[in-house]
């Protein structure tokens, strides 16, 4: 039983992090845009569910009052309806994901707009700051998504018996992560992916050859943020509540950066490898951290083990294996593959 939960935990976090990391890989790995505000897009996804969908449901059922109490009421009413009518549950989930992606894209574009002209390091700091401000506002302002009280979220799988809910949700997350991966892989294995890499290597050359670098950057961040917002919405429905503190920069910005560095920048397969390795270690650490602390006679509290380990891991990757587990590869479009065949034949 415990082992089953362990595997489910790994699957769920693998799926959520794959969505976030694949989006970050488009922006940073391919495009060289250091989006240190990744957590913001994830938070927007959660706000879509906790703040907007909840309010739509409140209006539908005519519930008034503060979002914190009202969301609890809405949750129980909606759960009953979903239990009787599964289509509504799935409908709410799909609609929320689409809305989250849309809002993610809009906020992503909006926040990069004033800063896209900045050079890499300033851009990173600006995006981190914007993300932090948004985090603070949603944590201390109780009107938006309940601040430090948080809000309840309907159980979109209320029609599923309790013990099966987790496994079905894990499958849903995995499915959406898979679709997001396919989408990104198709989009990046194209002249667009090549253009992003070119801009990353030398912005000046890209401009000289007629590429509007600013516009490409803005569109890329909008695209990446749309995908990352899916993870936020999924996480909200998975945990049946939204509280801003779950969307910290460590979990949704720094860890994703660590995972794509580990897997290999600008390589989608590398992202899978990086996320899988990271999530497995993280979940095992979380489950066995007391045993590990006791066995190693660590002089500090077990909760710090995770941060220290991943911090050291980051340093090791950057110093000894900056290209990651799987190296960046040139983009082989079909016409290029045909060229390879022709060259081989000529020999």
């Amino acid at each position: 039983m415990a082992q089953e939960y362990l595997i489910l935990d790994i699957v769920i976090w693998f799926g959520l992090y794959l969505i976030v990391c694949i989006s970050l890989n488009v922006e940073y790995g391919f495009g060289g845009i250091p989006n240190f505000g990744r957590a913001l897009a994830v938070l927007i996804g959660a706000i879509t569910v906790g703040g907007i969908v909840n309010r739509i449901l409140m209006a539908t059922f005519g519930v008034s009052g503060g979002i914190v109490e009202a969301s609890g009421l809405v949750k129980s009413v909606t759960n009953e309806i979903i239990a009787a009518n599964p289509a509504i549950g799935i409908g709410i989930l799909v609609a929320s994901l689409l809305l989250a992606a849309l809002l993610g894209a809009i906020t992503g574009a909006l926040f990069i707009l004033p800063s896209a002209k900045l050079s890499e390091d300033y851009l990173a700091i600006t995006l981190l700051a914007i993300s932090e401000v948004m985090f603070m506002v949603s944590y201390y302002n109780t009107d938006m998504i309940g601040g430090y009280y948080g809000v309840s979220v309907p159980n979109v799988l209320a029609f599923v018996p309790g013990e099966q809910r987790l496994s079905i949700f894990a499958l849903i997350i995995l499915l959406i992560a898979f679709l997001a991966y396919l989408l990104v892989d198709r989009v990046t294995n194209s002249p667009y992916g090549r253009l992003l890499r070119a801009i990353r290597e030398n912005e000046m050359v890209a401009e000289a050859y007629g590429k509007n670098v600013m516009v490409v950057r803005i569109k890329t961040v909008a695209f990446g943020s749309a995908i990352a917002a899916l993870a936020g919405a999924l996480y909200a429905y998975y945990s049946v509540n939204v509280i801003a503190s779950s969307f910290s920069r460590v979990e949704w910005t720094f860890y994703p950066f660590l995972m794509i560095l580990l897997g290999g920048l600008a390589n989608n397969k590398g992202v899978i490898a990086g996320v899988l390795a990271f999530v497995t270690v993280k979940v095992l650490l979380m489950v066995y951290k007391f045993e590990i602390t006791a066995a190693l006679h660590l002089p500090f509290e077990a909760v710090w083990l995770e941060y220290i380990m991943f911090g050291i891991l980051m340093l090791i990757i950057l110093i000894y294996k900056p290209e990651g587990l799987i190296k960046e590869k040139p983009i082989m479009t079909d016409p290029i593959k045909r060229l390879v065949d022709k060259i081989k034949k000529a020999k």
Partner: protein, 258 residues
């Protein structure tokens, strides 16, 4: 005589230093116009202003009669001007082939088009074109190696190949044959002569006069940000002022026993 590019009293200042001082040049269509001048005379600054990388402080640039002064570089490219850089600017982690492919506009460079695969036809076309250029430049055996592995001379060729590859009306080159071996330099200039016949105009800055002069149609000489002379190759070689500031005062050198 039909001019494709014209600058009118073009000036550029760097904190009081007049890098360009009321420069007037006319580049004739389908011709090779050469700019020469001593180091620091403003040749590269002129290229940077024409291609939009520097903003002009005064004056105007007309391309096919259209005012393109101070437009962003990518928009100037859309009008049909392509430039190369004096120091080669390779896309280091991209392959040699990919470095050339980026020169053209491909519909697949937009997210939605890339998703819908609306780019295969164009890609087919430019991959073939790019490979032909690599064969011409003798870089075809390196097509799939990353650009950072190339030697200095090879990077120079890559820079030229990328410019020739772009569908440009005017190609502006900053020292294209510096550091290129003479045989290949002549081949490149032959190819340029061929492209001229196909309706492409060239504006080139170059110091290797021994090789390039027999290919040029018109020469401008710059010194201290000003155009000090213009004319055909012969005319320029015999111009006293040009000999003094650029070609070297041979008579005096002899007197001094150099």
């Amino acid at each position: 005589m039909k001019e494709i590019l014209k600058t009118k009293n073009l000036s550029k200042f760097f904190y009081g230093l007049k890098a360009l001082d009321r420069v007037n040049i006319n580049v004739e269509k389908d011709k090779l116009t050469l700019i020469i001048g001593p180091n620091g005379s403003g040749k590269t600054t002129l290229i940077n202003v024409i291609s939009g990388f520097y903003k002009a402080d005064e004056g105007q640039i007309l391309f096919n009669g259209m005012d393109i002064t101070n437009k962003p570089p990518h928009e100037i490219n859309w009008h049909g001007i392509v430039r190369t850089f004096q120091v080669p600017q390779p896309l280091k982690k991209l392959t040699v082939l990919e470095n050339l492919l980026i020169a053209e506009q491909n519909p697949g460079e937009r997210i939605l088009n890339s998703l819908l695969k609306k780019w295969v036809k164009k890609e087919e076309e430019i991959v073939e074109k790019a490979y032909n250029y690599l064969e011409f430049l003798g870089l075809d055996h390196l097509w799939d190696s990353e650009a950072y592995k190339l030697s200095g001379g090879q990077l120079k060729l890559l820079e030229i190949g990328r410019a020739l590859m772009a569908n440009a009306k005017l190609i502006v080159m900053d020292e294209p044959i510096a550091g290129v071996n003479p045989v290949l330099a002549n081949n490149i200039l032959d190819r340029i002569t061929e492209l001229k016949k196909q309706g492409i105009t060239f504006l080139i800055v170059e110091h290797r006069l021994d090789i390039i002069l027999k290919y040029v149609d018109h020469v401008y000489v710059m010194a201290n940000g000003k155009v000090i002379a213009e004319g055909g190759a012969e005319e320029i070689l015999n111009n006293k002022e040009v000999i003094e500031v650029y070609l070297g005062a041979t008579d005096e050198a002899v007197k001094c026993g150099v």
